[in-house]
Structures are given as structure tokens and as C-alpha cells.
């Protein structure tokens, strides 16, 4: 085991900034990061052991304790719950005889929970040894456990059929489905790979930037910063080396469009990265992918190899002297906050994924303190089309403020969950029609994931776009029979508590306090003051360093704003104060420990 660790450390040339890769390899080889590996890494990489440990403890796919030979990570997103997760979870526990967070006594099978894994259109889903299992049912769970007990490799386990499109190809072989429901100029596979590269080498980098600026395209991750401007800032920033980072961390519950792009259009994405590299003068690109999408790894590496063979990557790309650019893939290890660009950079450097203070912004001091562009997968794909067809062409789609198209990840209570490419300017009503939702049976729509807003039918005429309802593309539809507070708001709030990096006390503490308040209201102990407190205290989160922290109260704040009646129905009308304290419950534990009969 010791030599295995050394080999892995040497594979990454004892490079401290590759600590994530080292840990990922050790974790998958040994099943956990044993203490001797921690000391060895520390010694070889010239770091302290606590520095190694703090990175390990940050990511939930790393473990300092032994896990199973098979590790089941069942997604606990709100939509999974809506699609019958409770029964699936209970079946796992019953069949294995263990609870979540435990490993079977024989050390064979570990059972864990995990936040949204980007499969909202095919829930409930789980990851078992890096492979995805979708549309789970109690019956399917029994089949899986039977296969595991027979010692089958996950690759050889029983399945009904592979997913559509590239999911069925040799290098992926996954049951995941793309569910592409509407194709637009980005998803259209019209152009040959490399076409845009051939075009840009005849242009100057500033011409490329000008074209992108002309298109008016803005970041598709959700924040909507103008892409051309970002590139220009990075180009102008002094630095001996520059980097293009592609953010494929897609952790916002309900978002899965990047997964579909990575499956179907990786060449387009890589070409986008090359274009960005050319434009800003970067020589290295890093595709940062969430660990949940590791099953695409071999396939993506193969495509990178082929691109190198064709000289779309490497030295003197397309025959242009001095145009050097290559891409490496960096995996995360399970942390939502790494989707925040500066946290992503920290993580790509092998550290805890804690957001940085800004300024300086990544375009000035990013990866390894060098000027860095961090772009979303979809943004980089769109840029290729902009280069091929021109900024004016791109601007012909969408609205003045929101040009072009947007990939939407639609899930929840509708007939056709999946990925839709729409031009900006659609209303929520249009989306509901498109996704086959029965409008009389829609209670609410979550726009932009948990960090966005939950809106009621009276707002369904609002328009998707930066000028009105901005979104990274996730829309979750909730039918009339859903319990918004218990099943949605509570789930999202727990998600933020789980995924807080812990750096700012606001985000570390306030969501937990708000959750307690929400529990109190759900337990019929709430009073009007509790609702007002939540609104008031939720504002404190604005003091957090990153977008995650700042929006961590949004599930509660936006549901109070748009569904206040749901809260008011549950509070006590005849009381102005109730602490929610229950003496019976509070003394239960100690009476049990001492063998006393409680008397109140």
C-alpha cells in the first residue's frame, strides 16, 4: 500500500498543486486516505500533515476512514425525494442492514448520502463506484444489491439499456440519458470540429475578443458577466502565464445541462477553450469537472488525445507558429462551493475549495496567482458558434440585454424533464407548456436552483433573461400536491448548511438558525415573530464572501416572499411568543441515562 501511495505521488511529479489528483487516486485505489498516506504525502510534497488533512476533510468523496469495496452514494436532492427517494433509501438500508453513513460489517458496502449529482431528470439516482445508476426503484435496488453480493464489478452489473446518444458508446457505457428536448444553435451539431480554430488563426486575438464582445454574450453560469470583457481584462492583465479554466462543476441542484454538453459536445467545448486561450494569450486550459461526472473521464481524455493528434491542441495549433494550448482535466471531489470561480481555482490548486476575497479578481490573479479566465461550459460552447457565424448573428437571437440562447435544465413535475435550448425571452408559462406541465397542477417553479427564487403562478408570465428572471438554467416544477415548506424549502436549506465551506460565520451559522425556525414552524410551534425574524436575519447573509453564502437564505426568503400564506397557515394565531422549548423532550436523554422516571 505504501508503494502505491508513492507511485501516485510520483505520477503527479510531487506537485503540491496536484494534491486533489493525488488524493482522488489514493481514495479510489485504497478506498480511503489512510494515516500513513497522509504522512507520506506531507513529507513528499513538503507540506504539513494538517494541510493535507484540511483538504481531505473539505471534500465529501474523500474519507479518512475505510469505506466499502462498493460505495453507494444516494442523491438527496429535492427532486429525488419527489420521485420516490424515501422508499429507495429505505430499501438500501434494509437490504444492507446498515444506516446511511455506515459500512457493512464485512467492509464490502458503504452507504452514503450526497447532494444533487446532476441527474434531476432521471431521479432517484445514485453513484456506485463512480458509475451512475438512475431511475432507481426498490426493485432495482434489490437487483443492484444482489449483483454486488455476487461480487460483480459495477461495469458488469445488470442494466436494461444504456442511455441515449454518446452515453452508449464504448468509453462511457452509462445508463444516463441526455433527454435533449429542444435543439438550438448551440446544441446543433452542424459544424466540424476545428472549423472555428481554422478561422481564428487568421484573426488577431483582439479581433476574436471584439467579435465575442459584439455578440453580447454573458456568462452562462448564472452571474452573467460579459464574456468579451472578461477576456479583455485577462488579456490586458500582466502575467507570465495565463490560464483558461472551464467551470464544469455544475453543482446547483436541478442543473444538468453541462453534463449533456460534456457527453454530446465535448469537442465544441474544447474548441471554445482553445479560442479563449488564443484570445487572452493563455497556454494552458483546465477543465474542472465535478467528481460526480467522473464516468465521462475516459471518454473526455480520449477526445483530448484525438484533438492533440489533429493538432487542435498542443504546439503551433493549426500550423500557427507560437499558438500553443493544451487542456488537462481536473476533478473536484464533492463540494458545491467549488462552482464559485475563486473556490474552483483554490480547488484546482489542490486546496480546500474556499472562495477567495476579491479583489483581486481571477482575471488579474487567478490560478497560481496568474491572470485566469473562468468560464462556464455553455459560455465556451456558445463562443465557438459566435466565431463561426459572427457576433451579429448571435445577437439576432434573444433580447437586447440577453443575447443568444440558453440551455435550460428542467425537472420536477412535468412530462418531459430534460435539456431545452431556448432563445432568451421565453416566459415561465412558455417553459411549462414546452415541458408538458399541466398548468392547473403547478404550484410553484424554482428558477435558478436553490440559490435562485421560488415563484408562484402569478409570476409565471415573467421573462427569462438577465433583465428579469436571471437563471443559470435550472427550473424545477412543483405540482399542487407537493409540500413546499417541508419537502422543498427544508431540503434546499439543508443543502446550503451541508455545502457551506464554513469560512464566513454568517453562512456557517445563519442557515442553521433559520432551519431551526422553519422546523419550529413545521412543528406548529411557530408564531408571527418567527416569520419576521427569518426575513430580518436572512439579510445578514449578504455579508458573506461568496455568492453561495449570500444566497443561502434564498429558499426561505423567496418562499416567505411568494408563499407567505404557507407559513402563516402553520403558525399559532393566539400567541405572540413561543420559544418552542419542550422540557419533556429535553430531559428524556438524561433520564434514560440515569434510569429515572421524568417528572415535570
Amino acid at each position: 500500500m505504501k508503494t502505491a501511495t508513492i507511485k501516485i505521488i510520483e505520477k503527479y511529479k510531487k506537485d503540491k498543486t496536484r494534491l486533489m489528483d493525488i488524493l482522488i487516486d489514493i481514495q479510489s485505489e485504497i478506498g480511503y486516505i489512510p494515516p500513513h498516506a497522509v504522512s507520506q504525502i506531507a513529507e513528499e510534497l513538503h507540506m504539513s500533515e494538517v494541510d493535507v488533512e484540511q483538504t481531505i476533510s473539505f471534500y465529501h468523496f474523500f474519507s479518512l476512514k475505510p469505506t466499502g469495496k462498493y460505495n453507494i452514494y444516494l442523491n438527496n436532492s429535492a427532486v429525488a425525494t419527489m420521485m420516490g427517494r424515501a422508499e429507495v433509501a429505505a430499501t438500501f438500508e434494509k437490504e444492507l442492514g446498515i444506516k446511511f453513513g455506515q459500512v457493512t460489517a464485512d467492509g464490502m458496502i458503504g452507504l452514503f448520502e450526497t447532494s444533487c449529482i446532476g441527474m434531476n431528470d432521471q431521479e432517484p439516482a445514485a453513484i456506485i463506484n463512480n458509475l451512475i445508476f438512475t431511475k432507481l426503484t426498490p426493485f432495482r435496488v434489490k437487483e443492484i444489491i444482489r449483483d454486488i453480493r455476487e461480487g460483480k464489478r459495477v461495469e458488469d452489473m445488470f442494466y436494461a439499456s444504456y442511455g441515449d446518444g454518446k452515453n452508449a458508446t464504448e468509453l462511457i457505457k452509462s445508463v444516463v440519458s441526455n433527454n435533449i428536448r429542444k435543439i438550438g444553435p448551440i446544441l446543433e451539431k452542424k459544424n466540424k470540429p476545428g472549423e472555428a480554430i481554422k478561422k481564428i488563426i487568421k484573426m488577431s486575438p483582439t479581433e476574436v475578443i471584439d467579435e465575442v464582445k459584439k455578440s453580447g454574450i454573458r456568462g452562462r453560469g448564472g452571474a452573467g458577466f460579459p464574456t468579451g470583457l472578461k477576456w479583455e481584462f485577462c488579456r490586458m492583465a500582466p502575467g507570465e502565464k495565463k490560464y483558461i479554466l472551464c467551470n464544469a462543476d455544475e453543482g446547483e441542484p436541478g442543473t444538468f445541462k453541462d453534463r449533456v454538453i460534456l457527453t454530446e459536445l465535448p469537442r465544441l467545448l474544447f474548441e471554445g477553450m482553445v479560442i479563449a486561450g488564443y484570445a487572452v494569450g493563455a497556454t494552458e486550459g483546465i477543465l474542472y469537472i465535478r467528481y460526480e461526472y467522473k464516468y465521462l473521464g475516459q471518454y473526455l481524455e480520449d477526445i483530448l488525445d484525438k484533438a492533440r493528434e489533429k493538432n487542435y491542441l498542443g504546439k503551433n495549433i493549426g500550423g500557427k507558429k507560437g499558438f500553443d494550448f493544451d487542456i488537462r482535466i481536473q476533478y473536484g471531489a464533492g463540494a458545491y462551493v467549488c462552482g464559485e470561480e475563486s473556490a474552483l481555482i483554490e480547488s484546482a490548486e489542490g486546496k480546500r475549495g474556499e472562495p477567495r476575497d476579491r479583489p483581486p479578481f481571477p482575471v488579474e490573479k487567478g490560478y497560481l496567482d496568474m491572470p485566469t479566465v473562468v468560464n462556464n461550459v455553455e459560455t465556451l460552447c456558445s463562443v465557438v458558434k459566435v466565431i463561426l457565424n459572427g457576433g451579429e448573428w448571435y445577437k439576432s437571437f434573444g433580447t437586447t440585454e440577453s443575447t443568444g440562447t440558453k440551455l435550460l435544465s428542467i425537472s420536477g413535475d412535468c412530462r418531459y424533464p430534460g435539456v431545452y435550448e431556448v432563445v432568451w425571452g421565453f416566459s415561465v408559462n412558455d417553459i411549462l407548456d414546452m415541458a408538458g406541465a399541466t398548468k392547473s397542477d403547478v404550484q410553484a417553479v424554482q428558477v435558478g436552483g436553490p440559490s435562485g427564487a421560488i415563484i408562484a403562478p402569478n409570476e409565471f408570465n415573467r421573462i427569462l433573461g438577465y433583465e428579469d428572471l436571471s437563471t443559470g438554467g435550472s427550473l424545477i416544477i412543483f405540482g399542487n400536491h407537493r409540500d413546499i415548506l417541508a419537502d422543498v424549502v427544508m431540503n434546499f436549506t439543508e443543502f446550503f448548511i451541508e455545502e457551506s465551506c464554513g469560512s464566513c460565520s454568517t453562512c456557517r451559522i445563519v442557515p442553521s438558525i433559520l432551519k431551526k425556525k422553519l422546523e419550529k414552524i413545521l412543528n406548529a410551534r411557530g408564531v408571527m415573530q418567527d416569520i419576521d425574524d427569518m426575513v430580518e436575519w436572512g439579510k445578514i447573509l449578504r455579508a458573506s464572501r461568496c455568492g453561495l453564502g449570500q444566497t443561502a437564505a434564498n429558499p426561505i426568503l423567496s418562499s416567505i416572499k411568494n408563499f407567505r400564506h404557507l407559513y402563516e397557515e402553520k403558525i399559532q394565531k393566539n400567541k405572540s411568543f413561543d420559544s418552542g422549548f419542550d422540557l419533556n423532550a429535553a430531559v428524556k436523554e438524561s433520564c434514560e441515562a440515569t434510569g429515572r422516571v421524568p417528572y415535570i
Binding site: 422540557l583 423532550a585 430531559v587 436523554e589 438524561s590 434514560e592 441515562a593 440515569t594 429515572r596
Partner: protein, 182 residues
Amino acid sequence: MSKPILATTSLAGCFGCHMSILDIDERILELIELVEFNKSPIDDIKKFTKKCDIGLIEGGCCNSENVHVLKDFRENCKILVSLGECAIMGGLPAMRNGIPIKECLEEAYLNGPTVVGNTTGIIPNDPELPMLLDKVYPCHEVVKIDYHLPGCPPRADLIWEALVALVTGDEMKMPYEVIKFD
């Protein structure tokens, strides 16, 4: 007009806050001019004999008796003030909050290095003893608290000024030095 009536108690605290009350020194003479004491360790009145205006609570709630006393104070006092860190946040006693109560009791009475002579292996369970709570609660998580006076203990001057403000109805003086962080 009769004088406002003041009650005080120490729950899961160390009496340090009460010591700090005494630290108002000779102003205590002024204080008894200003207010009348009822249930309080200061005059040793054990039970409320009348309704009070102000109740000062030191310490959080670590057992059932604390809860009863606190609720008694809430019923009998118009205004309740959490006095000091323990009342406001649980304080030092709350350090046990991350540890299951069973483990705490076993460490204290069975397994701890200072345990000698407990040959019967009994954890105290006399019905006369108050029942421990699963964790130490700050007062405002049990009853409504109107004001919080922070400090460990709150400075005598702070207690004095707060009391004077409450009694006279004037706004409390809060200079920058009092509220600044660190």
C-alpha cells in the same frame, strides 16, 4: 409612586454576574433607593412575594430546575434581562453541548480519572435531584427575554447603567467603547 421591584437569580452560572452587580460598589446604596428587591440571593428572599418589574437572569438552563425558575421569573417579572454570556449563549456550561449526556455522566461518575470509590457504579439518580437537560439552553430559547447584557461578567458600570435606564425609562448610554468589537 412606589419603587420598581427587582428580582435576580443565578441559573447555570457561576455567580460571577452577581459579583459584578456587587461591583457597583457604593452605588448599591443608591440602588436600594431606586429599587426594591424581591426574590434574589442579594436579600435571600426564596420565593416571589409579589409581581416584579425587572428580573435579572444569570446563567443558562442546564437542568429542569433552571427551567422552572426561569419560567417562574417570566411569570412574575414584566421585563426579563439575560445577564452575561451564560444566560445569553449558554457560556462555559454549554461546552458539553456537543457531547451526549450519557457520555458526560459516565465520564463524571464512572470513568473519569478523578472518580474514586464509586464501587456500585451508580450515576446519581435521586428523584430529589433536578433532571439534566440534553444540552445547556440559553434563556431566550426557553422563555421570551427582553434585553441581553453581554459580558463575562458584564461590567458593573454596564449593569448599573442598564438598570438606571430601565428604571428611569431613559435611553441607555452606549458609547462606541462599549459596543465596538474587541
